[in-house]
Amino acid sequence: MLIQEKPIQLLPETARQTMSGAEMTLRALVAEGVDTIFGYPGGAIIPIYDALYDFKQELNHVLVRHEQGGIHAAQGYARASGKVGVVFATSGPGATNLVTGLADALIDSTPLVCITGQVFAHLLGTDAFQETDIINITTPVTKWNFQVTEASQLPEALAKAFHIARSGRPGPVLIDITKNAQLQQFDFPEYQICHHIRSYRPAPIVRPEYIRQAAELINQAKRPFVLWGQGVTLGRAEAEFRAFIEKSGIPAAWTILGAGALPTSHPLNVGMLGMHGNYGPNVLTNECDVLIAIGMRFDDRVTGRLDKYARQAQVIHLDIDPTEIDKNVAATVPVWGDCKETLPLLTALVEARTHPEWRQRFEQFQAEEVAAVIQDELFPTSDELTMGEVIQQLNELTQGEAIVVTDVGQHQMVACRYARFNHARSNITSGGLGTMGFALPAAIGAKFGRPDRPVVAIIGDGGIQMTIQELGTIMQTGVDVKIIILNNQFLGMVRQWQELFHERRYSFVDIASPDFVTVASGYSIAGKRVSERQELQSSLREMLAHPGSFLLEVMVTKENNIFPMVPQGCSVSEIRLR
């Protein structure tokens, strides 16, 4: 079925030998360049774990505390490193615990290969112990999934899994392997990496007429505006993107998954889009004449009310996924393709411009936003600490070099708004799904993916309690993750909505927390709590300097709101500063 090329031999001297499906699976992982696996064993995947015993040199297996933690760790690993994240889980509950992470990885285009054990093939459909129909459960949340019931199907299934996960618009793939297929001895030919599946076209051919038309629109534009998303980073096209922006002189704003592809300090980086994004980028979306969307999908958190979104603009949409083009916003020119390829073509045709007056508009809005919101958030005069000043102090210490992993809620929006990034793959957050509990395990994974970079997790008092068990993973592996809990003693983001839109009827957002520092110490993780401004910077310093993981709980104002805000159902130009 596949046209396979470039066979690579794993062990030339022993090519074509008899081995178990389990062993073959691990050899495939090694051949695919996998070095780290996040997993949790169980009955239906014991043969693979048994084989793993002999692969300790080649494969680093991280034993997590919950399969959801495992898959979020693999997501963090993949997003920090650009490699495919790999997860092992057993059948039944082990496999169903992956579902949230799969949904998260699908909507945020994260390449994963999840391998689940399954009951013996002859027991399928009998309600056997720990049997769940994980293929059907995960069909809506995987890019592709496949059940292997014979060892001989494994090489092709695994090769396809890696090819599909990482090519085109990346996404999660799940391979379910019945126990008999893991145990079965079979004659294993050389492993062949998959490069082509006839029914799957991940890399479309770029059509020059689209490029020409896009360039024409851009060259005629008086107020062009670029929106970029994670596609730039997924396409490894940061340099090409920067060259395009710098030549065309077009102000550019980012979605939260796009953050970092152009450094925060770049003069053409005008800030964040969306519900809690910056003032100028939101308002001016409705004033630009040509809107150039690059590797972003016009999520409703970015567009606000669609029928009042950029109606005046001609839209150029660059995306590798054709289903995104014309999905939410109709494109005048659809530039379907890999932006690594399309951006240089476009750069060649656009005129060098600077757009000084248009850029000034962004600066004016920025000044207004600083006065109304940012100054007080980053440099508060009140007694209590704000989330913003914690991020501000962190910036000063890390100088934009850290990988920042955030959970979901107010602290996430503050971190995305104010953290500074010098590099792509530095802002790891659950964007599309908004999965509380993501940050702690994702930070662990990010550190395994990029051990050379500092990793700081920013988590709410609510979200940390969703996957706090992963402190055990930190304890056992000794991985170095800095954890900042921004504790506002509330499920803050929900409280904000209840305050603004539900007459302050605070319904079940008042969440109690354990003593996090004591909990951390129970896991032999150093920690500290701070609530005074004069201790903040020294505590952050202490945390960053600490050899190994550190948990810093910062007590912040209880009832702060995140502004600006585009209220739900409003247009981006109706963004509120207070």
């Binding site: 006839r198 996924d321 054709p322 014309d326 109709a330 659809p334």
Partner: protein
């Protein structure tokens, strides 16, 4: 985007796919997720061995159909998807009708009616007779109404099958797909190529 229900009509979606377990579910949930009712669904072999063909009928606006067709085509094991109005396809549905044999035997009018509808007896037993007819929905429907007074015992209609009038089959397309490196002549995405009016080629 704000199309009125009045813009809705029947569309015939044709998908060429690999023959893969689970693909039916992957395709079905694209509709159910959007609460779109599938009016008719047929899967069958195609003119090419190993390639399956789905015929799906839904009642929707073109905007929705186009998005759905793209979503189906995005599935890894789907090769190609087309959508067409009823005017653009030749389509047929088959129906079976079970009627008491004694009534037919007695009433000459029934025989005439059946001939009129092009119905054919498939089975004739002492107690009942099964007729078959093939045609458009209205035709097979009309025969139900006609047979009802004569004690119609059972009725069943098949899914729709449709052939696209302007299609020249899938053989050439498949060869393009099988090439590891697609050539520039490959039309990769019909939806972006025919963007009514927005784009002239």
């Amino acid at each position: 985007m704000s199309e009125h229900p009045i813009d809705r009509q029947e569309y015939n979606i044709t998908a060429y796919t690999e023959n893969q377990i689970g693909l039916l579910n992957r395709i079905a949930i694209i509709f159910s997720r959007r609460k779109i009712n599938i009016e008719s669904l047929n899967t069958s072999p195609s003119e090419i061995e190993g390639i399956h063909r789905f015929n799906i009928v839904i009642h929707e606006t073109e905007d929705v159909v186009r998005k759905i067709a793209k979503q189906i085509e995005k599935q890894v094991e789907v090769l190609k998807v087309y959508y067409n109005t009823n005017q653009e396809v030749i389509w047929q549905e088959m129906a079976l009708y079970k009627v008491p044999t004694d009534v037919i035997a007695e009433k000459a009018s029934v025989e005439r009616l059946l001939r009129e509808f092009g119905a054919r007896a498939v089975v004739i037993r002492k107690d009942y007779t099964v007729f078959e007819t093939t045609g458009h929905r209205e035709e097979t429907d009309r025969l139900i109404t006609v047979l009802q007074p004569y004690g119609l015992i059972e009725f069943v209609r098949s899914a729709r099958i449709a052939i696209i009038k302007h299609s020249d089959g899938f053989n050439r397309k498949l060869r393009e797909f099988e090439r590891t490196e697609p050539g520039s002549e490959v039309v990769e995405n019909e939806f972006l190529n025919n963007r009514d009016g927005v784009f002239s080629m």
